[in-house]
Symmetry: C2
Subunit: 232 residues, 2 copies
């Protein structure tokens, strides 16, 4: 019960949030590499050593930001993927992911951009990171179970090693779809984020920029490729 929490607890929770909020603000200006405890503390009117009551080190603060970012994206994707059929949920989900990324380009870069030199992401980040791919795989599974999964073209056969990897992955995430279908989902996943990264990181400037129509086009085409049928 929240009434049972002491004033100290509430103050701690609130300050923890304020520290992360200020850190996110600085992330947008300086990037994760130059994110500085001292300047976060300064901005909050505290002395820098006080932050060590909340995060044992700078890297732990970065980890918290990473986990928050993955979860924020996971929430946005799960809430955004709406519609009656898997194809519609795929299309709305892709759009929601892109929207999230465009609103928070620096949080996006934090999780999908260059690795931070000298920083090693702890195990604690992986569950949050898995949410989006699991969502996409779930859509494929739905269509498979409904018997409507119909890829636009067969594509090359899986080599034996790839098939083994993908079947291991299917078991690991407790999903029952043919390895070809799961492979397509992974391909689409890399395609989706490849497109978003190119848009946000400036590679598309001067070609398909603004990118809205290109993104919509490619999302549909990925749906065809995966085999999510248009509503009949």
């Amino acid at each position: 019960m929240s009434a049972s929490r002491t004033a100290r607890d509430r103050a701690r929770a609130e300050l923890t949030r304020e520290i992360k909020d200020e850190a996110r603000r600085q992330l947008a200006e300086e990037g994760p590499v130059k994110l500085s405890l001292r300047s976060v503390a300064r901005e909050l009117g505290m002395v820098s050593s006080a932050l060590y009551r909340y995060f044992p080190s700078r890297d732990d603060l970065v980890t918290a930001l990473i986990i928050d970012a993955y979860n924020s994206l996971g929430d946005a994707a799960e809430k955004g993927a709406t519609g009656d059929d898997p194809r519609t949920r795929w299309l709305t989900g892709c759009a929601a992911i892109r929207e999230w990324a465009k609103e928070r380009p620096h949080e996006y870069a934090l999780i999908y951009g260059s690795p931070i030199p000298g920083y090693k992401a702890p195990q604690a980040t992986v569950a949050a990171a898995a949410r989006v791919p699991l969502l996409l795989i779930g859509l494929v599974q739905e269509a498979w179970e409904a018997g409507t999964l119909t890829p636009a073209f067969p594509g090359p056969p899986l080599t034996s090693g790839l098939q083994a990897q993908v079947m291991g992955l299917a078991e690991q995430v407790a999903v029952e779809v043919p390895p070809e279908a799961l492979t397509r989902a992974i391909v689409a996943w890399t395609q989706l984020f490849g497109m978003i990264s190119f848009e946000l990181f400036g590679q598309l400037v001067g070609s398909v920029d603004p990118t809205d129509e290109f993104f919509a086009h490619t999302s549909q085409q990925m749906a065809d490729f995966i085999g999510l049928p248009a509503r009949s």
Copy 2:
């Protein structure tokens, strides 16, 4: 003629190269954000202010590294894309790009990773950056001119805005292929680099990792998608 170059000229060219080499070494350890003129100078046994004879500022050194990286990748891709038909050149080109990236992950991250906060890439980088996409588009044009371009599936129709963007791009790069074909090339380009980024940045750990077979599979499938025919 190289004989006409003075000793001063040769010394300057050599030191410029040594500065960039040392900077690349530090790029691998610290990343572009923490790359430091002082520490490059220190490692070279010079005083930090001496570097200003070679690069007017830290950002200019970074720009030089970016242009070198794009050109190094451009060379690797152009040299690697060999074979009698466009499909083979596509497959070998993709493999060469990936190899380059795996050998120089930090140079890859410099050009295809997160933007560097506070750094604005000057116009001088765009020609070098365009080499890889132009190479890929060139393959599509070859197949088109040979009359062998046969996409695996039609895909959604282009919306009018997208068609206009793509036709504008075709004109800009002086290429004569239908907008649908050029759009496919751009899609494959984002797919290709999305996959490489995911591999290098650690998103594929625990799924299709090692990524060799997945990459080979997807490259072929992209060739099908673009419409580069298997050798007949």
